[in-house]
Symmetry: C4
Subunit: 365 residues, 4 copies
Amino acid sequence: MRAKSNPLNIFEFEKLAKEFLSKEEFDFIAGGATDEITLERTRRIYDSIILRPRMLTDVSKVDTSTTVLGESIRFPVLLAPSGGHRKAHPDGELATARAAGRLGIGIVLSINASYTLEEVADVASGPKWFQQYMFKDRGLTRNMAERAKGKGYTALCITVDTKGVQPKRERNIHNKYAITNSPNLPASEEGFWNNVSGDSLYDYGLSDPSADWNYLEWLVSNTTLPVVVKGIMTKEDAQLCIEHGAKAIIVSNHGGRHLDTTFATIEVLPEIVEVISNRIEIYLDGGIRRGTDVLKAIALGARAVLIGRPIFWGLAVAGESGLTEVLQILYDEFIRALIQCGYHDLNSVDVSLVGLRSPLENHLS
Amino acid sequence: MRAKSNPLNIFEFEKLAKEFLSKEEFDFIAGGATDEITLERTRRIYDSIILRPRMLTDVSKVDTSTTVLGESIRFPVLLAPSGGHRKAHPDGELATARAAGRLGIGIVLSINASYTLEEVADVASGPKWFQQYMFKDRGLTRNMAERAKGKGYTALCITVDTKGVQPKRERNIHNKYAITNSPNLPASEEGFWNNVSGDSLYDYGLSDPSADWNYLEWLVSNTTLPVVVKGIMTKEDAQLCIEHGAKAIIVSNHGGRHLDTTFATIEVLPEIVEVISNRIEIYLDGGIRRGTDVLKAIALGARAVLIGRPIFWGLAVAGESGLTEVLQILYDEFIRALIQCGYHDLNSVDVSLVGLRSPLENHLS
Amino acid sequence: MRAKSNPLNIFEFEKLAKEFLSKEEFDFIAGGATDEITLERTRRIYDSIILRPRMLTDVSKVDTSTTVLGESIRFPVLLAPSGGHRKAHPDGELATARAAGRLGIGIVLSINASYTLEEVADVASGPKWFQQYMFKDRGLTRNMAERAKGKGYTALCITVDTKGVQPKRERNIHNKYAITNSPNLPASEEGFWNNVSGDSLYDYGLSDPSADWNYLEWLVSNTTLPVVVKGIMTKEDAQLCIEHGAKAIIVSNHGGRHLDTTFATIEVLPEIVEVISNRIEIYLDGGIRRGTDVLKAIALGARAVLIGRPIFWGLAVAGESGLTEVLQILYDEFIRALIQCGYHDLNSVDVSLVGLRSPLENHLS
Amino acid sequence: MRAKSNPLNIFEFEKLAKEFLSKEEFDFIAGGATDEITLERTRRIYDSIILRPRMLTDVSKVDTSTTVLGESIRFPVLLAPSGGHRKAHPDGELATARAAGRLGIGIVLSINASYTLEEVADVASGPKWFQQYMFKDRGLTRNMAERAKGKGYTALCITVDTKGVQPKRERNIHNKYAITNSPNLPASEEGFWNNVSGDSLYDYGLSDPSADWNYLEWLVSNTTLPVVVKGIMTKEDAQLCIEHGAKAIIVSNHGGRHLDTTFATIEVLPEIVEVISNRIEIYLDGGIRRGTDVLKAIALGARAVLIGRPIFWGLAVAGESGLTEVLQILYDEFIRALIQCGYHDLNSVDVSLVGLRSPLENHLS
């Protein structure tokens, strides 16, 4: 299946993928905004969140499944919306959807996909949601949602953290990287992302820079799909999501690709969980690379997590089978961690499973 | 005695041992699970636990001895159960037991030893305990315990942190490392550990994945040896050990070889000491490399510590005499630290000897 | 415009400038006192101050302007007083003043400038302040202030952290670096800075080592320009500034160039903001390299920030156009950060925008 | 004066000294016990203790002098007792005493000096104390004290942290380093230090391993010199020093040369200052390399500090003139730091001058 060696984990997949991708593509996928401090922090923080394993529990039967907005998935992982999977493999999102289906998990298809939402829907066997933006043209916003619903997408994911200004991703600017427009979007002279590495810093593209909570409320009222808000990093905004009709939120810092020096997503999860208080579902993305990372997010109150860059590493290495292997590794690591921590399903996993501060600090003056 | 230079401490022994061992064996011994974060943390934490030495006490007569489950040892160190010492030296556990005897300390023989428990018993002069697992076949569990007792083993150590799933030790998988089965176990087509580096992640081997606290209680009732539970990392489980009849516990994260990103063992020791409240004995393993490490563990409430990997470094360098030298170094460093801290025996060593947070933090706003 | 590549940020400008400058000049500009711990800390701290972006606010119209002592600037950045810009480019402060004018921001001209205050005034189109010291000769102090006022300078900045003793900047001493005297100062046999790298450590030059708060009060009474005190690092001194008539203060550790092992300026800002309680304006310099740094300082209570070394990097690379590019980058990054954080002007930016401690610490025991 | 370049600070002196010394001697002087964690910590901590400089105070007249046990010194530095200065330069302690005299500071002569206490007394012009141990032979202890008093030594410094066991300094053991005995001590077959790098770990030499607080009390009663206890690292022992008649203490971890993983000395200073409550004087050694380090120790309550290794660096580079230069540098840096912090003498220097925790932590949730 692969040219060189057998990657055993997602880090090794990334390393191998780097050999299959041009520098420009690799940098676009792997990189983040400005100094990449958020990028690094979002991943690194998992290494200092501690698991407190419990012993002598019955783990002879283990069930890792859960539901997201009522739909069942085999383990609590979704594939994050991310543009243009063809940059990693010609099969692009078709391979992505098939691999997700093999593992029994869901996908959130990006409006910037390399294939149309209809083409992807035809090969997706698991839960599928559609992700888009709040466009200046509200008709476009509504129509895209209805078009997705018509093809069986069951939720509408709205990304709210990229509105108003292009990110400064310096690797891309140095590489003179240009994004290919998606077939999902209406043709236009400018295109949606055509200035991402250019000089026009304040090109709002098709997005509406004046979009506020009223726009969200309008959207909720004007689509029959449940709305999932992606890009929340504060408890204040989490509260506003509920007040304006969101059915779920995704705690996300856009993979460290937009604003630099934010918290890691897992750092703000608990305060958001607290304010949400089980009223809607909470997901999280950013930095998930190990099965233990997934378990920590669940323990801290996420319903499920999303992975983004690992999709590209799997696709780049071997298309559908590469991504399938990536997902299989994550599943294997997750079930292993769950068992080693003494749990046989997700119901009883709670915050008592994780620690942060060394207990020594409490016991030594 | 040795080919090259005279190692002065256990770190230098490890470095020298690396030259005597194949990469595959060295990696198996030295390595840990997945990212080896727990492996590193468990060792590194000792460098930031502080000794507060007391001056002008009478140290003209010093006694480092203690007892474990009533048996006397010359200083508070035991040799941890660890499989297949022949991978380091042909004399394997025979050399191990003889070296322990020379230093007046005890051994905990692993069921996965390279020699049978009977062969080892014949050469052991100090305290000896036998370590095994909770097997699916309870008869096997009981019979092994009785067989050990018959040869003079005085305690039964049950490892509880490896049940249910194979660890993911990536060095071994890359090395295609295969474990040799122990002569202690009944021959079977599969063997006990034959899949450790293979693809079958959920091979429970002979262990019982449904083993819970009732199994422990059954075992306590069905053997006349005191039961020592190895692998406890939470105060909750420490409390349960007492409730279900354990006579002692070993705080252990399996040397960072199973679940990654747990606390270091010494970090959780104080909260376990608190909940146990002197009702049973508490030992600790993981990361002990210096005499000062032993002293810190004693000060924080451990009755004794166990060392694992250093056994292999000693054996690899020079068999029985190499391990004897390792133990002599640890003894020398321990008595030196004890004296330098102003103590002449272990009775008065308590938590006041250690510190963690800089006192500056309390005195400067 | 430039020889090699297009620097995308101020760090890259510094790197490129290093190629245009002699080692002696680069070291003088980039270096700090003794071990350069303050130098490093003052910059590095920004990476751990966290932004908490808010979503779904209307950012269709954005205004980054503010006022400093009543004068309008396009975004909250001033050019810090810094001696001898000709060491970076022949046009020196003339280029500096023109670049500031292009971006609509203000300058604080150093008494140690390479051009006279009159020459610079003639080309400056934005707000301009004049910086000097408290001289032994109070007549000189007053006369310089009046001379500046006569040419349209609108505030008098008094640097108070360099009085009494030469700094120990070891790079300069090793380089045998000699400072050129400024045309602003009266000719004298000794000159003002002639011993900066020499052996006479306690050469007070023209500065008055006995200058105290009474001197400040005298100065406030003897000039019609508002007095801005530069070099305050404690809340105690901030309070004294108000009591003795200062109209504004600049929180500054002199770019880490005088006393080593102080706090970073941004670290002491909040306690100074608290004690000042909006009675006078507070500015800050030190370590500002990214637009997000500017935003963090504003959120923590600074009215504006000053940049010093980046002036030289811009000038060294391409004179006026180089510095213009540096300022344009900072402006671009600032507006981008403001928008990404969900703000459309500076009025509502407050401390709720920033964080420091991981919220995990509050939510995990 | 020197072969190569002009060292500007003590770190550069160390680097240069390394070229003048054999590896064995350099390692003996520079090295510490086992992993050298205390050695590193004791120095490094100064970099994170913060100075809070005050502005606009009158520093036209500066006085750095203080007294130690009533004797005046030019600035608050003493030369620490340290064995065998001839290993750095043939003039040994004669050069040391002369250099101290030139700078107007005091020396504490080690009993392990390369010259007799009488020879050194003849060239010393400043305050001089004598340091020794508590010997098994109390007559020897008393006689050495009287002999020192007879030659004008004004205090007796008793080192209490090395009693009972040889330190484990692995560099020395690898180097097969042998210490030369001092002419101060009675000739014996064994000598005092002859086993320092040998195999006999528990050689107590002439020191009394049973020496306790009663011995101190006996010594205080049996000598007319004030007794200074060196090697205190806890508030408990500081309190006992007062109770048993010490006139001063030296907070010291023996330069990280005996017990490893203790606190840095400056870390325990404040709690010792608190318990002593001005009843006796407190000095400190360990890690002092910069004038700012001296100032921090004074601010935290030390009366003076002692330097050890820098003596050797100065001597190795150029004997008396080299050490004079080292002391001059320290004096220059100290007075500079004092002035830059806004003080004109030591009387008003107190804990308000220093900080540790970032003020940001108090102001940001």
